[in-house]
Amino acid sequence: MLKPLLRSRLEAMLSILTGSSRTKKAQSKGKLVGFAVLMILSLFSLSTLFFNIFDSIGGIFQMAGLGWLYFAFTAVLSFGIMLVGNVFAAKAQLYEARDNDLLLSMPVRPFHILLSRLFLLLVLALVLMLPVAIPAVLCWPGKLSAAGWISFLLIFLLVLPLLNLVISSFLGWLLHLASTRAKNKSLITLLLSLGFLGIYMYFSFRMNSMISDLAADPSGLERSLGSAAPLVWMGRAIAEGKLLGLIPLVLAALVLFALCLWLLSRTFIQTATDRRGAAKRRYVERTAQGLSPDRALLRHELARLWASPAYMLNGALGSFFLLIGAVVLLIKGKSLTGMPEWPFLAQILQPLLIVGLCWMAATTFLTAPSISLEGRCLWLPKSLPLSSWEILRAKLRLHMIIALPPLAIVSVAAALVLGYRGALLALLLITPLVCGVFSGLFGLFENLRHPNFNWINETQAVKSGASVLITMFGGWGVVAVPLIVALIWGDKLSVETIGFVFLGVMVLLCALLYLWLRKKGPRVFEEL
């Protein structure tokens, strides 16, 4: 029974990624190719990022005779990325999957259900790790011996993924415990998630300076990592072909994974069927304040957002960062204007910040999964005396309420701190808001075209639906257009001209999307 389970996991993942879950029919070849290209492009851009990093440090490490450190650093980096990507997937797949009851009632060994879920996590871990490991080995200027290659494959295809499964299963369990037993589940899950994200962002933002420090003085890293024997063994096994050093690591990974598997299989049924929640609250009768249908719908959308940390983190991450950005700008903004070592940057700072804000606007896309999130409850709004436009408008309003105020606050903060004047001031105050409106309209448009109601865990709807991916990448792509135009025709066109043409195009796109949603959107919604 294991094979069908594995196949169903992979099919579910592919159908979500390719958007075929809407029609329950095979996706057309053209669309499949389109989605495949999108996925490959995403992985390629991630690989390019790491290629640049490894390219800048590879030669220095080789010259310093610190090949082991180079590969130990690669291992740490890829392990970190696997962990960040897999912890929440482990929580969703191992402990909170909605199809556990169904599968447990079938003549399937619980151990096989568990294995199929771990298999999916393993595939995800490998997908996340490859964009780091492959550029690292390609950028290494030295030549790896046969033993080095064997070590590389053993470490990146076996040791690290297995250890990652062990740790992400444990951390996923902790998150699951915190989110199910606590009174305010959403808040706790949100704080924990933001904590993880904060650590990730800290390292991401410091990446450049860390790489510079590494290139200038690899001995600092040597001192930090040199005391961790397993990292030294890993690094030496690849760089120097000392295969024997890997034996304890491979054994440790296998034993730890076997232990984890044993623990999970012993507790799987209990965990999968555990319905304990917070203490029961007794209803105290009181008269509610009546709301108009419009306000009731908006309140319902806000309640859905607040109840789902995954929705908040994926759909409204840009708004979180914008609020932090406003504070940072007010405190440290002046230092950006006076950078004698970067005169060019100071010159383009103002238009660049407008583009940055537009990019952040495209990072908030609450409408993109909003229809998919109705899931099995879609019958409810459809059976109520509400027009389809009222239902769609409530989703748009939620997006505008969450996305636009932070954009306005940062724009005003930037105007105050960085001394925008004239045309650029107008562009700063208007363009990011228009991009925010565009993101909401485009997300809703895409979700009407690519809804996914077959999700098992809502994380699938908010994270990996076709509408979410298209809205996110599409939004970023649109914002990149003025940058590309400036790079190509910057000498012929002024920044203000490019800005206003871009603004005009965005307003036009918003108008077209609004008209489509107003005229055709309700009809499409009714057909779902």
Partner: protein
């Protein structure tokens, strides 16, 4: 109250409902029976305005569903076979949401919630999130939500599934009470004994087509509804 005339609904090439006509008068409890996949749910969903239909006409309390869907929906309540509701809401918040959408005045809403939730035994649980409700409790919550705006017509898809015997008995009482006040009920069921005792009229559907309809006596005569149903199924095989 409910007038269905030549209703046709197809999924691709397959006709789920084919030229179906029914008329339900005020005060009637109308049972709708048929095997799985016969077209009961599609008919009920079409009447509730959830599904668009391809041909025919549906009128609710004199209002045309196609041209005036909101007026029709204000007069009805629909209960699906699987009461999926917003799990992140508490029971009371869900009921207040429904009350807001139907513009039920807060004090009236409170009285009705109290009456029906108390009757069905879920009053104390209303502060709990719906995700913590059992299937039966969700079914009861959906029933309270259906009655909160005192609809003229109640459409129910397998309403007795998941209910405990006491709740099933109470539901039958509620159905009678509703029809005594001039309302009407159209519901599907596989429990033929219940349909036989409860319904004033019954319709039997097979492969999307109506094969028998009328008062209970007209349809079953002296036989049991189960015998008539099985016989008709065989005759139209």
């Amino acid at each position: 109250m409910l007038y269905i005339d030549h209703l046709t609904k197809a999924y691709g090439q397959k006709k789920a409902v084919d030229d179906l006509s029914l008329h339900i008068a005020p005060g009637e409890i109308y049972g709708f029976i048929g095997h799985n996949g016969a077209g009961k749910t599609t008919t009920l969903k079409s009447c509730a305005g959830i599904l668009r239909f391809d041909a025919g006409e549906i009128r609710i309390d004199g209002q045309d569903l196609k041209t005036n869907p909101l007026e029709c929906k204000r007069r009805i309540a629909y209960l699906p076979d699987n009461p999926d509701m917003y799990e992140y809401m508490s029971g009371i918040r869900f009921l207040n949401f429904i009350g807001d959408i139907f513009r039920v005045e807060p004090t009236v809403r409170r009285e009705r919630i109290h009456k029906y939730a108390e009757m069905l035994g879920i009053q104390d649980d209303l502060a709990q999130p719906i995700s913590a409700f059992s299937h039966g409790m969700k079914q009861k919550l959906a029933l309270v939500a259906a009655w909160i705006h005192e609809p003229r017509l109640i459409l129910m898809d397998e309403p007795f599934v998941g209910l405990d015997p006491k709740a099933a008995h109470l539901l039958k009482e509620l159905m009678h009470e509703h029809c005594d006040k001039g309302g009407a009920i159209f519901f599907s069921t596989h429990v033929l004994d219940v349909a036989e005792k409860l319904c004033d009229k019954v319709a039997i559907i097979k492969e999307g087509r109506l094969i028998a309809s009328g008062s209970m006596d007209e349809v079953k005569g002296n036989a049991s509804l189960e015998d008539v149903f099985l016989e008709l199924e065989d005759d139209h095989a």
